[in-house]
């Protein structure tokens, strides 16, 4: 044994003597006993109990009980890591039971950072520590959705669809590609935590700056979220948590759609506006001064009693198998003169259920936890849901004093059929377009629809009902096995081998349609599956030592290897004789069979090290260095990612010691570089040739039915791509005031992304191969994150606590490519101009188009402007701003019309307890963002297809007697000066405040439960999305999207109000 080790052993013997009761004083003392429990009523072992002002103390045992000798005037101090310290005076009591509350603000709390744990007070990087128990109250499936508003510096944009993973942005937007953070779950990096059971989470922290995150070098640029899952503590116990709830759909005419008669009136108005001299006529509404609603929409325009509506004529076979069969169909559908409310035909109240069982415990030799969860969140939209079954087993064995081995494994199975919300082809997009005169079903109960040209939308009920037999199952095994060896004292070697293994299979049947204006005559069955695995093998050596009680040094060095491989395979067959789901598979169709497969592989290898040094608990210094190699690069595979950070605990200095109200104040600074290569395709380095049946094959023989293989360059390689660098500076402080009652953490950051890997369009003259990622772009972000919390007792029974977060980011594109300084996205139905322009000097995702100045109210106004001023000018249409002042409206006059990035977002959690009751409400808000309401394109312009229209179009459009209108004149044709180009009509303010969650709970007193062997029983009622305050006119102001194109609403899947009842039971 080394001399050093001997000294340390002796030191620990001395220490253990020091705390032994033999040295304690024992004057006029009595024995005090008691039990210490956590918030869930679980016994807490290992809590230190000290008599204030003395060295006397003990700790709680495995059952959470303790005994100590104390005098009535003594004050007992109960302390445990991660819990708020509690003080109780002894008085006449002989039994003092204490419940400790978890305290994320506790400075002693252990925080999981990169490959290490640190006390919160020792942090030098910017780390948001999430209050997991508050967060997981939100009754949604995804941890990532629950995180919204809970951590400063994190912006989350989601939606109401079950299982839809939201967009997460840590400190702004770092790339034009995938902006998702890296998740590190029990030390294993992953990009996906959609199947993680929220009940399994013990801690969650967001590593935001380079000082904290850059140890994850290559994958840290988008930020890192570290998660640890629960392990067993103390005696064996069983937790059962369950809730049942109902999501309730918003009521009323949510899209402000006209009635069928009003729809007809609008058509007459538009036709008169376009051709004043022609008497309007329509095969649905007849001809004349006033439109008349028909009794039947199929055959179009017929009235009751017409021989054409004789049911004997009816001929529709909904399961027709030859496209030409439909030519002979005879459809009969009544008109729904009241109007069909398509929103409520596809959206209805839906239940959510969750059951979670957790068994855990520990002994000297092992800790173990087993959990299983069943979540069934039905979507409010027909045939959308998330069903998830997850299992977890976490164990940890202490083989001997120096060796520990263990595993954390979870297995999940998910069924999650979804729709592509926010796009015009989805059932939601169709529901907002389908005309109200169309009923859901025809006279024989088959689907009714737009057949014959009553608009061209599809029956949204049919779309969703036909998906009823489409099934999919995703499975994932995730976790790691690890071993830790204390090689010598203070030196620990740890090896962890972990990763994920996943597969999924999906099948769907496409029915022929017959009810729509534009039908599909074929039927087909598709099946596909994906599969893959990745592994991460991490080896670290950690040396931790305190020298002379003032030098606290931690050194870590390690290596990490990562390999990811996977692929997908699938096929499609046409022509099924029967649509019976028990019959259809890829082999049973008679038509063409197609198949496909893809695979990918990529790898990373890394070395890293970190140093944390603390002098006198006052001056803190941290440095990390990582060297990463990636298979996605060819010539220069490796890059360096350094970071340094420092902290100064001012409150430890003598000049601050007078400030009684200030308990702790630390300022932090950090600087470093993080990397990113996530968006680079594994084949990026190579110029390749390939074939594509749709593009490169050709019928050179003129057969009319056979194509011959051809090749084409399909990828331009860039062997010179190197690491993207995210250069990050941070300054911030942590303050604890008023005896721990107020905690504030605030940070200012600046991130410069250089050598940003982007694949800007090449000049067309280079051909159409896949464009490589090159280190051409640049971006910068800056912002402020603030988190604050406070708690106070209003009375001895009524206790309040408040937690708030505040997040800003300011994103600016610094470079896009060497030539064009922008790229455009989102053409939608406009004339080839796009909604989104990502341009140098602006934020990612900004809206772009013509600025409306008003209407052309008269011919005189038009004449005054000059004939060349604006294309397609007419009275009642939009007048656009000539922003460059050249006297003409040209593409150069387009301007930035709005920014979907918010000025700031905030979360506020208010908690209160009163005796056995607890209450909590969580508010989340976003301020200063703009949204593009593309639903208006369909609803407010008669010319935008013959779909359902809004009250605005009929009642608040420009007319000579309504100059102060909202929408322009209604006409039969679109134009440059109305809805054919992106313009400011569609931009709205997107700010909102939403009560995401409110909960009222009652915990039965332990005395009542003792008889039934129950440790704890709590019941609660909860309301999610109780209210939303916003001026946005669409269904839901929370509109997600892609990284560079978001906030565009073309039929969102709204978040709905939800009411739940739940129970927490422990025995």
């Amino acid at each position: 044994m080394s001399a050093c080790a001997v000294r340390i052993s002796m030191l620990s013997v001395l220490l253990s003597l020091a705390v032994s009761p033999a040295f304690a004083s024992s004057l006029i003392q009595k024995q005090i006993v008691g039990k210490i429990t956590d918030e869930q009523g679980q016994p807490l072992p290992g809590v230190s109990i000290n008599i204030k002002g003395s060295t006397q103390g003990t700790s709680s045992n495995e059952t959470g009980t303790y005994s100590i000798n104390a005098s009535p005037s003594d004050i007992l101090v109960f302390k445990s890591l991660g819990y708020a310290t509690v003080e109780r005076s002894v008085g006449n009591e002989s039994e003092v039971n204490v419940q400790l509350k978890t305290d994320v603000q506790s400075l002693e709390q252990i925080v999981v950072t990169g490959y290490a744990t640190q006390r919160k007070k020792d942090l030098t990087g910017a780390v948001s520590v999430v209050d997991v128990s508050e967060m997981t109250q939100q009754p949604v499936g995804q941890v990532t959705s629950q995180l919204q508003g809970r951590a400063s510096g994190v912006t989350i944009l989601g939606g109401g669809q079950p299982g839809e993973a939201p967009q997460i942005r840590i400190r702004g937007i770092n790339t034009f590609g995938n902006n998702s953070p890296l998740f590190v779950v029990d030390g294993v990096p992953t990009t996906n935590i959609n199947d993680l059971n929220p009940n399994d989470i013990e801690t969650m922290q967001v590593l935001k700056d380079a000082g904290a995150a850059s140890i994850y070098g290559s994958r840290a640029a988008n930020g890192v979220i570290t998660i640890t899952t629960k392990s067993g503590k103390g005696k064996i116990k069983v937790n059962y948590d369950a809730f049942y709830g109902v999501q309730t759909v918003q009521q009323g005419n949510v899209w402000d759609i006209l009635t069928p008669q009003e729809m007809a009136d609008l058509q007459w108005m538009a036709k008169r506006n376009t051709d004043p001299d022609v008497t309007p006529s329509d095969d649905l509404y007849g001809s004349g001064e006033r439109p008349v609603l028909p009794d039947y929409i199929a055959p179009k325009g017929l009235m009751e009693g017409d021989p054409g509506v004789n049911p004997d004529l009816y001929n529709v076979n909904p399961f027709y198998t030859s496209p030409s069969d439909a030519d002979a169909f005879y459809r009969i559908s009544r008109a729904n003169k009241e109007g069909t409310d398509w929103f409520h035909e596809i959206f209805s109240n839906a239940p959510t259920t969750s059951h979670n069982v957790q068994v855990s415990g520990s002994s000297d030799a092992a800790q173990y936890l087993f959990s299983m969860n069943y979540l069934n969140q039905q979507g409010t939209l027909i045939n959308t849901y998330l069903k998830r079954y997850s299992l977890r087993s976490n164990t940890n064995f202490n083989v001997n004093e120096r060796i520990r081995v263990g595993e954390n494994i979870s297995f999940s199975v998910m069924e999650n059929p979804t729709v592509d919300a926010r796009t015009e082809g989805s059932a939601i997009g169709m529901a907002l377009r389908q005309q109200p005169i169309i009923p859901v079903r025809d006279i024989m109960g088959n689907y009714a629809g737009s057949f014959g040209g009553i608009g061209n939308a599809q029956n949204p009920v049919a779309i969703q009902e036909r998906r009823g037999n489409n099934k999919g199952l995703a499975r994932r095994l995730f976790g790691n096995v690890f071993a830790e060896v204390d090689v010598i004292d203070n030196l620990t070697f740890r090896t962890s081998f972990g990763g994920e293994l996943w597969s999924g299979n999906y099948r769907s049947f496409a029915y022929p349609t017959y009810e729509n204006a534009e039908n599909t005559g074929t039927n087909s069955y598709s099946e596909n599956s994906n599969h893959g695995y990745n592994w991460t093998w991490t080896n670290t050596l950690q040396y931790k030592q305190v020298f002379n009680e003032i030098h606290d040094l931690t050194l870590i060095a390690g290596t990490e290897g990562y390999r990811n491989t996977g692929g997908d395979v699938g096929g499609q067959t046409f022509g099924y004789f029967s649509f019976d789901p028990d019959f259809t598979n890829l082999g049973t169709g008679s038509g063409t069979q197609t198949n496909f497969s893809n695979r990918y592989v990529d790898a990373l290898f890394s070395y890293f090290g970190r140093v944390d040094y603390i002098f006198k608990d006052r001056y803190l210094f941290g440095a990390t260095l990582r060297r990463d190699g990636s298979s996605r690069f060819l010539k220069e595979q490796f890059g360096w990612f350094p970071a340094v950070s420092a902290g100064w605990r001012l409150s430890e200095e003598s000049f601050m010691s007078d400030l009684d109200w200030l308990n702790d104040l630390k300022v932090r600074v950090g600087y470093g570089v993080m990397g990113n290569q996530l968006n680079v395709d594994p084949a990026n380095a190579f110029t390749t040739y390939g074939s594509d049946r749709q593009q490169t094959f050709y019928d050179i023989g003129g057969t009319g039915n056979t194509i011959v293989e051809g090749f084409k360059r399909n990828r331009v390689g860039n062997p010179d791509a190197i690491w993207e660098k995210n250069i990050n500076s941070n300054i911030g402080f942590d303050a604890t005031m008023f005896g721990g009652k107020l905690n504030i953490t605030a940070d200012y950051y600046r991130k410069d992304i250089d050598d940003l890997l982007y694949n800007p369009a090449l000049s067309a003259t280079a051909g159409q191969a896949t464009v490589p990622f090159v280190n051409v772009a640049a971006m910068k972000n800056s912002g402020i994150d603030i988190a604050a919390s406070t708690f106070f007792d209003v009375t001895s029974d009524l206790k309040l606590d408040l937690t708030g977060t505040f997040t800003t980011y300011n994103n600016e594109i610094v470079s896009v490519s060497q030539s064009a300084d922008y790229f455009d996205q989102e053409g939608r139905r406009f004339n080839g101009s796009t909604i989104v322009r990502n341009q140098l000097g602006h934020s990612v995702g900004q809206f772009f188009g013509y600025q409306i100045e008003g209407f052309w109210d008269s011919q005189e106004e038009i004449d005054a402007a000059g004939s060349g001023y604006q294309n397609d000018v007419a009275v009642g249409r939009f007048r656009y701003a000539d922003t460059d002042g050249d006297g003409q409206v040209t593409p150069d006059d387009r301007v930035f019309l709005g920014n979907p990035n918010p000025d700031f977002s905030y979360g506020l959690n208010i908690g209160a307890t009163y005796k056995q009751f607890d209450f909590g409400i969580f508010l989340y808000g976003v301020v200063g963002n703009d949204l593009w309401n593309n639903v208006k394109w369909w609803h407010d312009f008669y010319s935008s297809f013959g779909g359902a229209k809004s009250k605005t179009a009929l009642y608040d459009s420009w007319r000579p007697d309504n100059l102060n209108a909202k929408a322009p004149i209604q006409e039969t044709a679109g134009s440059f000066s109305s809805a054919n180009v992106p313009n400011s009509y569609f931009v709205e303010k997107g700010s909102y405040l939403r009560a995401k969650n409110a909960q009222l709970g009652y915990t039965f007193s332990p005395s009542l439960l003792e008889g039934i062997k129950v440790d704890r029983l709590r019941i609660y009622v909860q309301a999610a999305n109780l209210f939303t305050i916003t001026n946005y006119s669409g269904l839901d102001p929370e509109v997600s999207g892609g990284t560079t194109n978001f906030g565009i609403d073309e039929g969102t899947y709204p978040s709905q109000r939800q009411f739940l009842f739940g129970v927490n039971l422990t025995f």
């Binding site: 067309a764 280079a766 030539s819 080839g832 679109g974």
Partner: protein
């Protein structure tokens, strides 16, 4: 204790070092599912690349929507030329409206799609030539044939670029910097490509889809015609017309029946000089190779075609088919004898079609109410039309497949139909009418009339007429001997052109071209080539705006609208140090 310590440290050290040593291999991952060019550097590989270049002909290269770069230019040639309305309704594909009205600017995404697709064609042809140049061991005849086809294709792609955009950058197989200026006239290079192909390609090919010597000759002559090099063009026509044959060895001629040019069952016939080969049911379960660019252009409503009601012929075009008692076209004043239409008449109401004299080609070009629409039944008028007041009362016809052969020649695997009807880039009637122009310009008017009369004679042959159904209740039962309308058509009487003189004879040739090639994507480019776009199109706008609402406000501006704008995005992509390499066409902002 000590022992464990050392074992642990040793194990750790070994682990770290063992990983380190294999890091290099660990990070080597080749591209999956693709080939490097070394694999293709042989006869078979060059051949595959050549097929890949033919594959671009159909306009489907993953850029924009397929109709934005349809190989027949139905938007840029026919809609913009006044043959057809965009069709459908006012909010549908609004990018086409400003093109039809000549108010489109370079931000219109359609131009970018067409530009990108055509340059993809150029690139694929260049990659054949580049690989061919460094591949050894290919016999000389094969080399010439491969190079000739590649240069023919490149010539075609550049010809399209030239007629659409005029000033375009030249990229060939030796270009390494793809950012080239558009400051030179590329006609000489296009000529050189077709000349090379004409000199080196064999007269017949193993596959009918390949370009041969005579196709190259016809295209070379067309290139001359676009430059008003009539002597050069005539010289080629004098060889191509008597000697030319198709790649499958058929001597050039006009098919007996006009309609056979527009039917997949009778394609690759003697009239097919060069065509884009289309297929149906090709095993992709898509219509990517099945005239994807036409997918919108079928009757709508309760028609059996499902989608989408675009490409509706104009009243002005229909009126053009009016004939005199002598069976000759009414070149002046045809709009004064308009053909009766069914605007505002519901399908349930009675309607009697026009009884006046007509050229039978009308009814293979335009679907109109009350006449047989192939074997699909009588066109019912309004119920197949999306919005008459916007797009007019007519339906296209040359792109429509037949009911009786729909299983072979249509493809229903997408939301709109596909079909196997070839897109005719050059057909022999086109060659004859261009040759007639060349003769009228620099040769003999008699010869010009002879060429025109060949075309008219075929149209006048009763085999080429549309006939009524044998049994109106069963359109599939075939056609009777009764003409479907009052067809009165004859060839020009001997000496007619000489009597007219050169200018009037040219107008007759131009008009014949309109009648014969309507809806085939030529009209706008012809008008520009003839220098009569402004007068013709502005008269068209004036007349047609009284029929429909879609093109109101349309106006062709001379000195600007002869060519489409260079796509703004391409100009922006050509910027070097703040200066764009590409210059916008005159008078576009």
């Amino acid at each position: 204790m000590k022992k464990i310590t050392y074992i642990g440290m040793l194990a750790g050290a070994l682990l770290v070092s063992s990983i380190t040593s294999c890091t290099k291999d660990f990070l080597q991952e080749p591209a999956q599912g693709a080939l490097g060019d070394e694999v293709l550097a042989n006869r078979a590989g060059v051949e595959k690349l050549l097929i890949g270049s033919y594959g671009v002909l159909d306009g489907v290269v993953g850029v924009g929507n397929p109709w934005e770069s349809s190989p027949d230019n139905w938007i840029y040639g026919s809609v913009a030329g006044g043959d057809a309305h965009k069709g459908s309704d006012g909010g549908d594909q609004p990018a086409i409206d400003p093109i039809a009205k000549f108010i489109a600017d370079g931000s219109n995404g359609f131009f970018n799609s067409r530009w990108r697709t055509l340059y993809d064609g150029v690139t694929t042809a260049n990659s054949v030539l580049a690989l061919l140049a460094r591949t050894e061991g290919i016999p000389e005849t094969d080399q010439k044939n491969l190079a000739g086809q590649a240069r023919f294709l490149r010539g075609h792609y550049y010809f399209e670029l030239k007629k659409l955009f005029n000033m375009v950058p030249w990229i060939d197989e030796n270009t390494t910097d793809f950012n080239q200026p558009n400051d030179q006239d590329i006609w000489p290079m296009i000529e050189a490509d077709f000349q090379f192909a004409y000199d080196n390609l064999p007269p017949a090919q193993s596959d009918v889809g390949r370009a041969n010597k005579w196709a190259a000759g016809a295209y070379l002559a067309k290139t001359y015609m676009y430059q008003q090099k009539f002597n050069e063009a005539k010289a080629i026509y004098d060889v191509v017309i008597p000697q030319g044959q198709t790649s499958n060895g058929l001597k050039y001629g006009l098919t007996e029946r006009f309609k056979d040019n527009f039917d997949a069952a009778t394609e690759n016939n003697k009239e097919s000089v060069f065509a884009v080969q289309m297929v149906s049911g090709d095993g992709t379960n898509t219509i990517a190779n099945a005239n994807n660019g036409w997918m919108l252009n079928y009757p709508y409503g309760n028609s059996p075609f499902r989608c989408c009601g675009f490409y509706q012929p104009t009243q002005e075009l229909v009126n053009s088919y009016r004939t005199t008692t002598a069976g000759l076209p009414v070149i002046d004043g045809y709009n004064q004898q308009p053909v009766k239409n069914d605007m505002g008449v519901s399908s349930a109401a009675d309607f009697v079609p026009d009884a006046g004299r007509l050229d039978p080609r009308l009814d293979w070009t335009v679907g109109r109410r009350g006449l047989p629409y192939h074997d699909w039944g009588y066109h019912p008028g309004a119920s197949w039309i999306r919005l008459q007041s916007y797009g007019g009362p007519y339906a296209p016809k040359k792109n429509i497949y037949w009911q009786s052969t729909q299983d072979q020649h249509s493809d229903q695997s997408s939301w709109a139909p596909g079909n196997a009807i070839n897109v005719l880039i050059i057909r022999f009637a086109d060659v004859l009418l261009m040759a007639a122009e060349a003769e009228a310009q620099v040769g003999s008017l008699a010869k010009a009339q002879e060429y025109v009369n060949l075309v008219r004679a075929r149209a006048a042959s009763e085999e080429s007429w549309l006939h009524d159904y044998e049994d109106p209740s069963d359109p599939l039962a075939g056609f009777s001997d009764d003409p479907a309308a009052n067809y009165v058509i004859s060839v020009y009487p001997a000496g007619h052109f000489s009597g007219l003189g050169k200018e009037a004879a040219l107008r007759a040739i131009y008009f014949e071209r309109k009648l014969e090639l309507a809806m085939e994507g030529h009209r706008f480019f012809d008008l520009v080539r003839w220098g009569i776009a402004e007068e013709t199109l502005n008269a068209y706008f004036q007349y047609e705006s009284t029929i429909t609402t879609d093109i109101r406000g349309g106006r062709f501006v001379s000195g600007k609208n002869e060519y489409y704008p260079i796509p703004n995005f391409q100009i922006d992509l050509s910027v070097i140090d703040g200066t764009p390499m590409l210059q916008q066409n005159p008078n576009y902002n």
